[in-house]
């Protein structure tokens, strides 16, 4: 029972960053501040979508989405207080996702000329013009 009491006391000390082995109770003020930031960023991204930004548009909307994703991962998903191994795994998965997208794009553009020359997709497209 003494261990349970110790754990409870420890968990109550919100601003204590010391790791007691099983995670860290995120202070309520942090959770609410993160939520308010996420809502503000959502409104910002909708607002920005009404402004013509040309080719920069995709970078702006993906930039805002990435800031939101980082906020969720670091605070809601407790990555700030997680084990380095778990964080490393997430970084690796993002690395492999980038490889997946990049290699497919490179491969696709490699053969795009042949696809355009032979594909029925483009024949139909030019037929509507």
């Amino acid at each position: 029972m003494t261990t349970a009491a110790a754990h409870t006391n420890h968990a109550h000390a919100d601003h204590d960053d010391h790791d007691h082995g099983m995670g860290h109770a995120m202070p309520l003020s942090t959770l609410i501040a993160v939520f308010v930031s996420l809502i503000a960023l959502t409104i910002l991204t909708v607002y920005m979508s009404n402004i013509r930004l040309g080719s920069a548009e995709i970078f702006v909307s993906m930039g805002i989405a990435t800031v939101k994703a980082i906020l969720v991962a670091v605070y809601f998903m407790h990555m700030r207080h997680d084990k380095p191994l778990n964080i490393l795994l997430v970084v690796f998965s993002l690395f492999f996702m980038t490889l997946f997208i990049a290699f497919t794009l490179v491969d696709s553009s490699e053969y795009q000329g042949e696809i355009n020359a032979a594909g029925p997709f483009v024949i139909e497209k030019s037929a509507t013009k």
Partner: protein, 254 residues
Amino acid sequence: MSATMTTAATDHGHEAHGEHHAHHPFQAHHFDTMVQQFDSAKLGIWLFLITEVMFFSGLFVAYILFRVNYPEIFAYGHQFLDKTWGMVNTIVLLFSSLTMAWAVRCAQLGQQRGLITNLIITIACAAAFLGIKYIEYSHKIHEGLLPGALFSYDPNAHHGEGAGHDSHDSEHSTHVTGPMPARIGLFFSIYFCITGLHGIHIIAGMIAISWILYRSIKGHFGPEYFGPVDYVGLYWHLVDLIWIYLFPLLYLIH
């Protein structure tokens, strides 16, 4: 049941092993400590989330590839998606993430009522998200905005150039500009695949959170044992994370 298990575990701990403290009733026999059990499960849930990221990556690759090669399909197709509903759903999901993170905090601090309340709000938000998705889907199905070859939307039927508008048409206030590109159904193939898979994840999340709610009502969780709340929470935040990217990619294109 829980009480007898506690007693059994306590006796076991004191007599058989002669340890300084009792075994927690939810400590599996193959783990030495609660911390070891927690760390193992946490590694497991992160590995599962990584497979989920790779799973959705396949659909994101399809999206990126088609958008790079055929941007006109996306520029035309996104006009059928309602930005307002998209934003409301984003806020609903973000709020459910807040209550889920709050539920984990309550479990860590042993706040039983807060834990149960937050889990109920999270499930309610998930249901609201699906309700809005139902409104959006039924509108699209009604107009024939369907994937691939099923696509049967007629741009002339709904926009009689100002004159022939009756009250029925004004219900569907979709203002579409520009000529309809060939194979526009491709946009809706991607739309229904990605949002559909995401919707299935929402349903799975509701089932998982309901299980956590059931165990919370039974009083299973506290400062020494809150793992399952944390693991389900991580999954729920990932579902939210995916929507954070889907919303601008599908609804906010030019």
